[in-house]
């Protein structure tokens, strides 16, 4: 974990309301693991006080890439940042995914897919095996990272709510169909996406007895575990910090 002023190499619209931010920082990139996030100060003034936590899409050499959606004032401010400007970044933060050998299935919804691309690449490097990836989106225009995942060599399947591409329905419904059909279940499921998607996915994984890791999103205060603002209910009825014990949890550790 370190704090650095990172040069913005690119910050551009990729599709729908989604942006890709490319930052330059060798030390953070070298430390970053799939599932970890960086905390970016988006307002140099004193209006929006809190940093915006964004999970890492790619970390290579001196480059850190982030995919984000403009959803509010903070990300709107971030979208206005120009190339060559510098952003104050703290990272990498939190615990990432546990890399395990075997037949992995990755399930992402919305921008949640970003951290899974980083994971897919890491699984390939470490175990020389490419996971299958299911991507959920509202429609074709919002479908993220499809090509990037194919380039890694993953078998990629899409689910869109409006049926404009791929499976017509929720990504969790697609997951259910796929897992039910195959006689051999995946050895591990990794997921990142909206809370309702994760809730349903965790339920299905429990049903099929597949171990599962999920990456949670929450409003963060400090991002380093000090303020206790970002908690999630743990299985022992305690509150766990999404920024510190998470953002990636074993599905059995938390109550969604």
């Amino acid at each position: 974990m370190l704090q650095a002023k990172c040069r913005v190499l690119a910050n551009s619209l990729i599709c729908g309301n989604f942006f890709k931010l490319v930052l330059q920082n060798k030390s953070i990139a070298a430390q970053a693991k799939p599932g970890q996030f960086i905390n970016i100060r988006v307002d140099k003034g004193q209006d929006l006080l809190l940093r915006r936590p964004l999970s890492i899409y790619l970390a290579k050499d001196d480059k850190l890439e982030i995919i984000y959606k403009v959803v509010g004032r903070g990300t709107d401010k971030l979208a206005q940042v120009k190339e060559q400007e510098k952003l104050d970044v703290i990272g990498p933060l939190g615990n990432g995914y546990t890399l395990t050998a075997g037949k992995a299935l990755l399930v992402g919804g919305g921008t949640g897919i970003a951290s899974l691309v980083f994971l897919a690449a890491a699984l390939k490097t470490k175990f020389n095996s490419v996971p299958t990836v299911l991507i959920g989106a509202k429609s074709k225009e919002d479908l993220l990272c499809f090509t990037a995942l194919e380039k890694i060599g993953c078998a990629v399947k899409a689910a869109t709510a409006d049926g404009s591409v791929g499976f017509h329905g929720l990504v969790t419904e697609l997951f259910r169909e796929i897992v039910a059909i195959f006689s051999t279940h995946p050895s591990m499921v990794y997921a990142c996406g909206p809370r309702p998607m994760l809730r349903e996915l965790v339920r299905l994984c429990r049903h099929f007895r597949i171990p599962c890791e999920i990456s949670l999103e929450e409003h963060l205060g400090c991002g380093v575990g000090a303020c206790l603002g970002c908690v999630v209910k743990g299985a022992k009825n305690e509150y766990l910090r999404v920024c510190k014990e998470g953002p990636v949890f074993k599905a059995s550790e938390v109550i969604l």
Binding site: L48, G221, C222, V224, A226, G229, K233
Partner: protein, 303 residues
């Protein structure tokens, strides 16, 4: 940097900049980002006798220039604090101020008693957290008799310097400050968060399950500053000023108004370097204005 050293009662600080309770965990959370040895003091998260679960989500709500919080005093509890958190802090060359809070006078006493033999520098008696139940009528720090009783008993039991942390949510904070001074407090921490509300316009419900939440950040700075002014008029003991301090100029405003020491709260979230930037800034300010000592500025407000 001797010119920056200040005295809070019997407690000598190497510089007047602290980090406020609840915004800095138990110190370890920030150790990778800043040199804790440079801080004037670290005020820990408020400790309760037993571990506390805290409030359900949501706990945070960002407002313009501010942050509403309703954490509900989630903490590891006295035993774990003493076994794990305190030894970590003791490795650093800074003052450790342990913040304690209880649901009753008895609980404050038990905490003071239990912490008596531990090594740290002062106790902050937090009688002003807005996010938990104190008495049926309100917060301890809204009742001068209860404030007096808690500070008095803690002082007698602990033998450590006692700092009383007050709420701004009261008509006359001076009355409470005076009661704490009379009870033996060596300093008054001014102030805890201001009561605030946020509403979900879709559901027409409050954002927070407790309805009320505590507002901090630059949005409250002028309000907090005035509370420091009021307390300074009421008591002769040192005041520790806090509320939206983000830079050296903010810190100077508090110091000129009468704060002997200042604490950075939500500023730590914005940029963990803020406390150290303020320390450096104050030293430069002294040098460039030919002040030998920061004490020359404390309470220099000309009215």
């Amino acid at each position: 940097m001797d010119g920056l050293s200040v005295r809070i009662g019997s407690l000598l600080l190497k510089n007047p900049v602290m980090v406020a309770s609840g915004t800095f965990g138990y110190g370890e959370e920030y150790a990778q980002l800043i040199d804790l040895n440079k801080l004037g003091a670290i005020v820990t998260k408020s400790i309760t006798l037993k571990p506390r679960l805290g409030n359900p989500q949501p706990r945070l709500w960002e407002t313009q220039g501010g942050l509403l919080n309703s954490i509900g005093l989630q903490n590891v509890g006295l035993a774990t604090f003493v076994d794990e958190k305190l030894p970590y802090l003791q490795k650093y060359d800074t003052r450790i101020i342990v913040s304690i809070t209880g649901e009753s006078v008895v609980e404050y006493c038990q905490l003071a008693q239990a912490l008596k033999k531990e090594t740290f520098d002062a106790l902050e008696v937090n009688i002003s957290c807005p996010n938990v139940q104190h008495t049926k009528k309100g917060l301890f720090a809204q009742d001068k008799d209860l404030s007096y009783e808690i500070v008095r008993k803690v002082k007698r039991l602990s033998r450590k310097p006692v700092i009383a942390k007050l709420t701004p949510n009261i008509t006359d904070i001076g009355i409470i400050a005076k009661a704490c001074e009379k009870a033996g407090a060596e300093a008054i921490a001014v102030v805890n968060t201001f009561n605030g509300l946020a509403v979900d316009i879709k559901t027409k419900k409050p954002i927070f399950s407790n309805i009320v939440a505590g507002l901090c950040g630059p949005a409250i700075k002028p309000l907090a500053l005035y509370k420091v002014y009021e307390v300074k008029k009421a008591v002769n003991i040192p005041v520790i000023g806090m509320g939206g301090i983000m830079d050296m100029n903010d810190a100077l405003e508090f110091i000129i108004t009468g704060a002997t020491s200042v604490a950075v709260g939500v500023g730590n979230f914005v940029d963990p370097k803020i406390p150290l930037n303020i320390i450096r800034g104050l030293q430069n300010y002294l040098n460039s204005n030919q002040y030998k000592n920061i004490k020359q500025i404390i309470g220099s407000l000309e009215c």
